[in-house]
């Protein structure tokens, strides 16, 4: 029974850790499927984390915070698109630039506006955060651990953004594989010339994909600062954007496998936090750093073709020059 409790709690933590990864990875999926490398996930999320926490602290409304977070992330997505799509700049350079700009700008503004050493104030007022929603009878169900605890911890008790992320995956799969927009998006990442020949604007599609990515990263960043924690602190995305990118590659740029990769990485993270120093049967104590590095090692092995094969969209990273 104790092991069952432990597993349920690890799984519940997995869901919480996976949420921003899923949002960011799906954001990257749209962008990369259109042929634009999305290394800027980290910066867009960090900007959203700061903007949402700052606005939530100032106005007392988590929803206004969400709006600000999405707006900030969207603005950066448009900067990257302007540089890479309109001016055909280097996509990796543009994204790294944005990541570094945000790493400097967010704490600088936080320091100036709130005077708390580069943080935003604690969000502890009513309505300032996205809090868990208890489903009916969740409290009562705890008394019967099987399956009550699973119901109370896994289905109930999460905040709105978690459920949004859960719904996002089937929705994106539907958009990508069942709609005209999705077909064009996939085509433009594989063969932009063909799309252009069919009279469809390559640049417009890539802008649309960047906008979707910006919005979703905004939601992910808002989750990090106003749902998973109570306020913005320096560098709080802590590489989650790159981890999401790894999950996207590990999921071979497809929605459901990407979700699975996010859950796997989040499970490793949640497990590592709870199993620190606990010897595993047959393995012994696994260094926590190894578990932290595991997603990155797996992704490198995958990219190297040692575990399966990851085939990126063909036109990824190549700016499209319309023939005059």
């Amino acid at each position: 029974m104790e092991a069952y409790r432990e597993i349920i709690l690890i799984l519940a933590a997995t869901i919480r850790v996976a949420t921003p990864l899923v949002l960011a990875a799906i954001a990257g999926l749209f962008s990369e499927r259109s042929g634009v490398i999305d290394l800027g996930l980290e910066g867009k999320m960090l900007a959203a984390a700061f903007a949402s926490a700052a606005v939530a602290a100032a106005t007392g409304s988590a929803w206004l915070g969400l709006g600000a977070g999405v707006a900030a992330s969207l603005a950066l997505a448009l900067v990257i698109a302007f540089a890479c799509v309109t001016h055909r700049g280097n996509q990796v350079v543009a994204a790294m630039a944005v990541n570094i700009i945000v790493a400097g700008l967010a704490p600088a503004l936080a320091l100036a506006w709130f005077d708390q050493g580069g943080q935003t104030p604690q969000l502890d007022g009513p309505g300032q955060r996205f809090l868990g929603i208890a489903w009916p009878w969740a409290q009562a169900a705890r008394r019967h651990p099987v399956p009550g605890l699973a119901y109370a911890e896994l289905l109930s008790g999460h905040n709105l953004i978690v459920y949004f992320a859960a719904a996002l995956v089937p929705a994106s799969a539907w958009v990508l594989y069942r709609t005209r927009f999705g077909l064009r998006l996939r085509a433009v990442g594989e063969n932009p010339l063909a799309v252009d020949t069919a009279g469809i604007s390559v640049n417009l599609l890539r802008y649309q994909a960047s906008i979707i990515s910006g919005i979703l990263c905004g939601v992910a960043g808002t989750y990090i600062s106003t749902a998973a924690s109570a306020g913005f602190v320096r560098d709080m995305t802590a590489g989650k954007g790159y981890l999401a990118l790894a999950a996207l590659i590990f999921g071979k740029w497809r929605p459901y496998p990407t979700l699975a990769a996010c859950l796997l990485f989040a499970f490793a993270d949640a497990g590592a936090a709870r199993l620190q120093g606990v010897p595993l049967p047959g393995i012994g104590v696994v260094p926590v750093q190894l578990i932290i590095a595991l997603p990155y090692i797996l992704t490198v092995l995958l990219l190297a073709g040692f575990v399966g094969e990851a085939v990126a969209p063909k036109a990824i990273g190549v700016p499209y020059t319309k023939e005059k």
Binding site: H87, G89, M96, G104, L105, D115, G118, G239, Y296
Partner: protein, 368 residues
């Protein structure tokens, strides 16, 4: 870049980077104004903080040395058409190479320890970069992604080693014990004192000489050797390289190995020149500054030297800024760094095309 957008050399290496820098400074100035401070006063304070006193000049040159190494690392890879974002991790692992030698032989003569430590730092950094290079060349893995992943793996590896293996016994913070006396890079102020010139103490040390030598070697390698030629051909046109009998695969691995070795040298400056122990996250983002430095210096050693001095001054000036302006600190420098990357790298076409049109000789202009 279209051939029509080719600029004369002075504009390519001087005017265009200057315009890009001005654009970056203009936006950071607007942010400082937004915060409620005077941008002019802030930049003046930064200049004074970077060059106003002997010790601040020393610090500026010390930081600049870091950036020369990481900037050269990015540039060498870039000439081969590779974007090495892994300078941070390569420098970190290079620190392991430097540190192990310094810990083991710290009590020997500096004449033995210093060359050995430099070689070891280069070798460790090179090995860490060789892996992504090999994966790119032989398995087709995207170098940008693998070098990013390698940064995180390096960080986890070094944390593990520092927390569990190399930590000084009986100590809380994850650092090694201090290196022996033979493992210190001689500080410049001590050398100057020996010939009777007094200079305020700072971490500015002889690793800066190594940085200058590295600049010269990189220049000679890229533009005066057969291997450097091969490397640049692969960067410009891998297909042409194949027809010229150059193996792109081998060249990619060579370029990454050299790149990682250069990044590893950062540890010589940081650890042997200043910290005298291995500590957590000692590269402190210098690997990423290297990207800005290489882009602004147009991947040329002379340009990189100049851009490194600029960023050294920004880092030193930025850390002095918060004494006088409590609401502005070094984060502003990170912002400037990001903006420089944006304007020099991603948005370079925005200024290049109009500038090229403006500077084109009248005769060559297309008649209307």
């Amino acid at each position: 870049m279209k051939p029509a957008d080719k600029l004369p050399r002075w504009a390519e290496f001087g005017l265009l980077p200057a315009i890009n820098l001005c654009a970056a400074l203009l936006i950071s100035g607007a942010v400082i104004r937004l915060i409620g401070e005077s941008p002019w006063a802030a930049f003046k304070l930064m200049a004074a903080g970077a060059f106003g006193a002997q010790d601040s000049i020393g610090y500026t040159l010390f930081y600049a040395t870091d950036f020369v190494f990481t900037g050269l690392a990015v540039a060498v890879a870039f000439h081969a058409g590779l974007f090495n974002i892994g300078g941070e991790g390569q420098a970190y692992v290079g620190g392991l190479g430097v540190g192990l030698v310094c810990l083991a032989f710290g009590s020997c003569s500096p004449w033995l320890v210093i060359p050995l430590a430099i070689a070891s730092g280069c070798a460790f950094g090179a090995a860490w970069a060789f892996v992504p290079g090999w994966l790119q060349a032989r398995r087709g893995s995207h170098i940008v992604i693998t070098t990013i992943m390698a940064n995180f793996i390096a960080s986890a590896l070094m944390t593990y080693l520092l927390v569990n293996v190399l930590i000084k016994p009986g100590q809380q913070s994850p650092e090694t014990r201090e290196f022996g006396p033979g493992a210190a890079m001689p500080p410049v102020h001590e050398l100057l004192a020996r010939i009777g010139i007094s200079f305020a103490p700072s971490p500015f040390n002889m690793a800066s000489l190594l940085a200058l030598v590295a600049c010269a070697l990189v220049w000679a390698f890229l533009w005066r050797t057969r291997w450097g030629y091969a490397l640049r051909v692969v960067g410009q046109n891998p297909q042409a390289a194949v027809y010229a009998g150059i193996s792109p695969e081998r060249t990619i691995m060579v370029a990454m190995t050299i790149s990682g070795g250069l990044a590893g040298c950062l540890a010589v400056n940081e650890l042997m020149g200043s910290q005298h122990r291995i500590l957590l996250d000692f590269p402190g983002g210098a690997g990423f500054v290297g990207i800005a430095v290489a882009l602004m210096g147009r991947n040329h050693p002379v340009g990189i030297l100049a851009a490194s001095l600029l960023f050294g001054a920004l880092y030193q000036g930025g850390s002095q800024l918060s004494f006088d302006m409590p609401h502005v600190n070094r984060d502003m420098v990170i912002l400037i760094q990001g903006l420089v990357i944006l304007f020099c790298g991603a948005l370079e076409n925005v200024f290049r095309a109009p500038l090229a049109a403006l500077l084109r000789p009248r005769a060559a202009r297309p008649s209307p």
